[in-house]
């Protein structure tokens, strides 16, 4: 992640700075950041006396005038040192520097900028301090108004440098968003730094809350899909109203958004296309489609091509009928998005090695979703013990559901009726 310079400049602009609610100074900063970036980095000591001049002047004044108002004298413009000034100067040499500086300031303000003086009378007093010394004591009110620019790097690979200063990032962390994961993605970091909390993030938070998404789910949601914060509210509202028009309840819409955070980034046309596909191709009723989509909303998000391929595999390679496929999909929607290779391995083992017929697989579709290695080991152990019967007609048959879902120790004691050590010893012979 590379947070670009432009974004950092925007971050440095006072609207996004944290804890520095000083409206009197803000226009000045903004003006400086936008107009004269070189100045920004050069300024070190001169900030301390910016309080002397009102902020609105800074914005309008030119470069030289601004510096002059701060008390920096330019040798090209020589101020007339009046009688009062010369008399005060020997006094300053004794030690009262503050008084002399204030005197000079008053002089400058009174003179109001460059005043032409005949050449012969120009006196340059090199001993007089033209500006306030950093060690000079100032009043509390002046001290409060000192602006310290944030020491932010202009560009960075991590959001750690900006999180303390940015209101958006701070609030996202408090919501529970994992910034360490987001900063690994390209451009997301820059996008987050550029966001304004009040204008961009807050309305979308309210929108999601109205939808029914709980506070605890907001963090993981933004971690998975930070682009909700840049999606337009009208579009998202339109998609939600489309889903509600398709008779999805508000709780189911909220649940779908939590499970598939990218859902609201897809257009109405795409969602419509997907829902139509599930109804037409697989032949599910509207109610069943709603149920399947609510349980696995990422069916609406991904590409349809792997789903079409999986359906073809089911029909042609495995030899399931359409009604059987509908039943399997209603029970275990995940088979539609499973990997084709794994699916074929599992089915090949179940059907050819274990000898389970299609009808029994349809009755227990979760075997198609289970871990192939675990199932292999368990089946071979049962075969070794002589207990590998899955047909319900057989007296001591073992249900497929118990074979795959039950944890290891319960499997050994109840299903295989052997000790766990025996199972481990058997696993080492495979």
């Amino acid at each position: 992640m590379y947070v670009c310079r432009r974004c950092v400049c925007v971050l440095r602009s006072p609207a996004l700075l944290w804890g520095k609610a000083q409206p009197s100074v803000t226009p000045g900063l903004a003006g400086r950041a936008a107009g004269a970036p070189d100045l920004y980095f050069m300024s070190t000591t001169s900030y301390s006396h910016s309080s002397a001049s009102p902020a609105h002047q800074i914005f309008c004044q030119s470069f030289r005038e601004w510096w002059t108002s701060c008390g920096v004298r330019f040798f090209s413009e020589q101020q007339p040192v009046s009688q009062t000034g010369t008399r005060s100067l020997p006094q300053t040499s004794e030690g009262n520097i503050t008084a002399a500086a204030e005197e000079l300031d008053r002089h400058l303000e009174a003179s109001g900028g460059a005043v032409s003086v005949p050449v012969g009378q120009r006196i340059i007093d090199l001993d007089a301090l033209p500006y306030q010394s950093p060690f000079e004591e100032i009043s509390e009110e002046d001290a409060i108004q000192i602006i310290v620019p944030p020491n932010l790097p202009p560009a960075s690979f991590t959001l750690r440098d900006y999180v303390d200063k940015s209101e958006t990032l701070r609030n996202l962390v408090q919501l529970g968003v994992d910034l360490s994961k987001l900063e690994e993605r390209r451009n997301v970091g820059s996008m987050l730094v550029r966001l304004d909390f009040q204008a961009d993030v807050a309305p979308r938070l309210f929108f999601l809350k109205d939808l029914g998404v709980e506070d605890s789910h907001l963090g993981p949601l933004f971690t998975k899909n930070p682009f909700i914060l840049t999606e337009s509210l009208e579009n998202m509202q339109a998609r939600v109203s489309y889903l509600k028009s398709k008779k999805f309840s508000s709780e189911s819409v909220a649940a779908m958004v939590i499970k598939a955070p990218y859902l609201l980034n897809f257009s109405v046309k795409r969602l419509d296309n997907r829902l139509a596909f599930f109804q037409e191709r697989i032949g599910l009723s509207a109610h069943k489609t709603r149920d399947v989509v609510t349980r696995l909303p990422r069916l609406l998000c991904g590409s349809l091509e792997p789903i079409k391929e999986n359906l073809k595999v089911f029909e042609l390679e495995f030899g399931f009928r359409m009604t059987e496929i509908q039943h399997i999909v209603t029970r275990v929607p995940k088979v539609l998005t499973a990997s084709k290779k794994k699916l074929t391995h599992v089915f090949d083992f179940i059907h050819n090695t274990m000898g389970v017929p299609h009808s029994l697989i349809v009755k227990f579709p979760q075997v198609l979703n289970s871990n192939c290695l675990r199932m292999k080991e368990r089946h071979l152990f049962l075969e070794f013990l002589g207990r590998a019967h899955y047909d319900p007609a057989h007296p001591n048959y073992i249900s497929l559901e118990r074979l795959v879902t039950v944890p290891d120790d319960i499997f050994c004691t109840e299903v295989a009726l052997a000790s766990f050590e025996d199972f481990e010893r058997f696993q080492k012979t495979l």
């Binding site: 701070r170 290695l373 012979t429």
Partner: protein, 350 residues
Amino acid sequence: MATKAARLLSKLDGLFAVYKPPGVHWKLVRDQVETNLLTAVNAFPPPAPQYQVQFQLLSSGETSTSSDLTLTATKLPVLADHPLVTGPQYHKIRVGVGHRLDAFSSGVLVLGLGKGNNALDSLYRSHVTRDYTLEGEFGMATNDFTHTGRVIEKSTYGHVTQEKLERVLAMVQGANQKALITYSRVDLHSQEAYELAVKGMLRPQDKSPPIITGLRCLSFKPPYFKLEVQCVNETQWYLRKMLHELGLELRTTAVCTKVRRTRDGPFNMEDALLHNRWTADDIIPAVKYFRRTTRKIRKNDSYKQAVTQLDSTTEAQDQSRTNSCHLEAQEKDGSNNISAEMSADSKQWS
């Protein structure tokens, strides 16, 4: 001051053995072990955050007007140290793999953790022998020598008897023994060579092609048969090819149905961890168990000694031979003593 996570990491240094299940790539095994160890190490609470004095405009409680905002200095934890911003403390643990097993095979796979990875090099250089159990089936020939490959040829196997099989095994072993003597670089007419051969301690000193030091038939129920192999510098593909050639020698065809490594040098199958035990709780005792073995492997690495101490090459070689003999003596304690049968006259055992 070591954190709990750092103390856990310091225990994760050494070698241990894992039982690789069949059908799984060795890289997935290594990645799974690393992931499990990282979750254990990152499970500890993160270090305390740094504090920073910040000046905030807070309402001052002392004054009567509550809307008065004054700058107050407060010490707050730096958000950059928040776990959601920094991420997990540890991103990588060095897990190395010893002699690899291909996806079709299963068995003992040596893994090295942290500083133990250096011992993996020493283990490789010590040219240890490995025990395999090969299961084969007569009557078929495939393109990749396994029963899952594309069938090329089918043949009858009725004429094969155990005696014929054992005769072919003896022939194979004889050929390999000649190769072993050549690569172990001993003078065949010397007393030293005789003593080593009697004890079964002949080993190739440098890089050599795969050599089978021991071979015998465990069971023969046509068409299925089981062999036990002891070999050096092998690959599993070579063993399957050897099984295929065995079938050809017997005027039939054979494929391999299972390749299982039961011993890799001093690492036995009994102490290897199954896949449900690949967690930090079980790996730490395993590493502790193999600490002595690891130390011996490191000590016996003659190449490293030669490099560090700059001894003369002949002295190092002699040292290595005697040391590797001691190492082999350790190996022989648990496993079947096939190498005792590795005498000049191979017909003696049957």
